[in-house]
Assembly symmetry: C3
Homo-oligomer: 313 residues x 3
């Protein structure tokens, strides 16, 4: 049986094709637990999972908590407000303190790129990166890969377009790495200020016109415009973004007729995505959310399910 030989899940960079396959297969077998009458198995009973979120998040935190509870782990939630951070403690000291309480796993979201790596070096507990700065968001990429594989029967050889703020998106970065590893071709598109200089070194093609970027694609992934962050800096207005880069039916017409539409959420309807697209027949946006719980259950199981692996009744 194939084994997952990692203490932590920090980035898509760290994962082999085999690792990714193992995670997606495990998610596949855990998926149905969320559809049962009794949505709970005792697999992680007595394990403690700490969710440490320095940035707000409904979707990701809720998804992780659901995943942990469905596996019967104990969960605790810490946020940056109400924590020692406001008291001037360093991340390393906070990490060592958490470790002293012997949690089994820490899920960290942090505004600083690399924070989970730092944490992982300091603690014995397993660490999952739930998004670090503009670096990576590997669990998002894994749930996207899961969704693509389920919808398209595989990932190898697919053509994928990613549209939006490629340069500042950890979702884009993790997906590009994951898709390339799994043998997909990736084209990115967005305003010039949102395309990283080194884009081609990531093995992707750059196409400025989004309507052209989606041509003949199997998958179109639309990124969220971070209203609360860079918008006012990087392009003149939301209206302008919507006009030139917002994905509507018209702009998607050159994609393959059965191309699936993805978005990591939360969506800004009428900005980066038109409602006719978000709610259209090829949108898999809500399946991404559902698959997110399964992928996170798989990661918890692979990282800390250890000796209990036979125990999924």
């Amino acid at each position: 049986m194939s084994e997952f030989n990692h203490k932590d899940l920090l980035s898509m960079e760290d994962l082999s094709v085999r690792d990714i396959d193992l995670i997606l297969n495990t998610a596949g077998s855990l998926r149905e637990i969320s559809l049962r009458e009794i949505k709970k198995v005792p697999t992680l009973r007595g394990k403690s999972v700490v969710h440490f979120f320095y940035e707000p998040s409904t979707r990701t935190r809720t998804s992780f908590e659901m995943a942990a509870k469905r596996l019967s782990a104990d969960t605790m939630s810490l946020s940056a407000t109400g924590s020692s951070i406001v008291k001037g403690e360093t991340l390393v000291d906070t990490a060592r303190n958490l470790q002293a309480m012997n949690p089994d796993l820490i899920v960290l979201r942090h505004p600083a790129s690399g924070a989970p790596q730092l944490l992982a070096r300091e603690v014995e507990a397993c660490v999952i990166n739930a998004g670090d700065g503009i670096h990576e968001h590997p669990t998002q990429a894994l749930l996207d890969l899961y969704t693509i594989r389920e919808k398209k029967g595989g990932i190898e050889g697919l053509d994928v377009a990613i549209i939006g703020d490629i340069a500042h998106s950890r979702v884009a970065r993790s997906n590009i790495i994951g898709l390339r590893k799994m043998g997909a071709r990736v084209t990115v598109s967005g305003p010039p200020t949102m395309i990283p200089f080194e884009a081609e070194s990531l093995g992707v093609r750059v196409e400025c016109d989004p309507a052209e970027a989606v041509r003949d694609k199997d998958v179109v992934m639309i990124l969220r415009i971070q209203l609360e962050r860079q918008s006012r800096v990087i392009f003149p207005s939301l209206r302008e973004y919507a006009t030139h880069f917002g994905l509507n039916r018209e702009r998607l017409k050159r994609a393959k007729p059965d191309a699936i539409i993805m978005h990591p959420g939360p969506m800004n309807r009428g900005v980066e995505i038109a409602s006719e697209v978000a709610d259209g027949p090829y949108s898999v946006i809500l399946e991404q959310v559902a698959n997110g719980v399964a992928v996170r259950m798989a990661l918890l199981y692979l990282l800390i399910g250890g000796s209990k692996r036979g125990d999924m009744d």
Copy 2:
């Protein structure tokens, strides 16, 4: 056996007399669980309940969480800060996303009247309205009905006064509907700016003088003045409110000698209610709180206890 044929609990309007009786009877049989040494039954094991509060609340959220935990459900708590709302997502999209994670029940408190109805239409999960704008707060009305029935042996034929900001109170509205359905007569009183124009169309009598409004009543329900909201707009000062509408022993003397005194909490002592009344022998304010847990357990049980109904050991 009488059955509860509702997916959601959204308003008192939706409930029949039979529904209300079923809820109160179920609460009656669950009440004693909270008095046991081991305050927990496995009835809702493996069910997940999401508490989604867009407005702050100790009492209501804590009461719901206690209720869920005593029935062994898994609980998760989301608040508006720290959620996708700050990121500009619509309530409908948030709802669909939550649904994609397959919770069994969502408890929603929201500042917009009608928000729970909107949510309920979008999700397969059961929805309980924990207070929506100035519309309804049905679980509060149900715990009030439970308390009245327990104290007075029944509700039909009772005379009830409700004193305070009738126009802007979801507690008043839900109670008026429930009390009328159960056959009680209701008189309301408060400053003219706090009495809704359509008061009489709700089937209640209006009496401006609170001392007169309580005459011969079996139940006096005192509403909380929302210090944090309308006070400065609707009447000149708290002192003035206390002087003219605050319920003290003197102002209550025309009520029946055994009239019970109710308040949904949190109280502003010395404003809408004098301490001599709040702490007096006929105050049932703390019993309301205790009964609130039982009524919420009953609702969770009736809505999602489904096939597990034989399982309350």
Copy 3:
């Protein structure tokens, strides 16, 4: 068998030497649960513990929650924001309301000295003081005593220095009381504005020079400078504090060669403590954190473990 005859844990003042021994011994036997593969025993199944924190805290709240969960209690967390406090309710009314929901134990942190005593008088539930104003922080003192006893083999006859803002520290106060009861000698040091007038009436020696205060000590306890509170008032600058009172290796050289270094956290490295000391071989700072979980498990067990005492499998 020795018994713990207290409803609450409010202050070190209330505890006898026998009580303290019982708590530390119980912590000793519970300590290893946190090191197991399955970190959970069913001892407090069906008990509900409410964590009510009016002041932010990672360490203390997390430690209490971990302790409760490892004993299988249900936990609920309330904070001052999002609670009835913002709605103008008194602490006594909040307390009575909580009590009406029948929790088994309430953990309270509050900015007002004496708040836990007030709460304890109003509720049937057991109350643990998790820090009240500048009064006491008894669970911190108990975990410090546990750590000292474990490291030094006993407490009686030891020489202990406490350095920092003695006058405004509830940690200092609780430790002084506990250390004196257990037969240790205590010397305090800090800027004159941080030494309480009545210091000698507490049975401690005052020594202004910190390098002299540590002379021949077995234990050096360094207090946290409360950056977020008094600093700008009580001494000119952090730099000045660090220069004159910050504990570095040089300033510690007169302590016994095997003196242990303690700090309640979170640390301000480079202010009250140099990194060479915090991370040095005699630092027991992280053991304090680990022991904190065990001491809190012991208190939960002694206060509400009642009839279940044989049940620690």
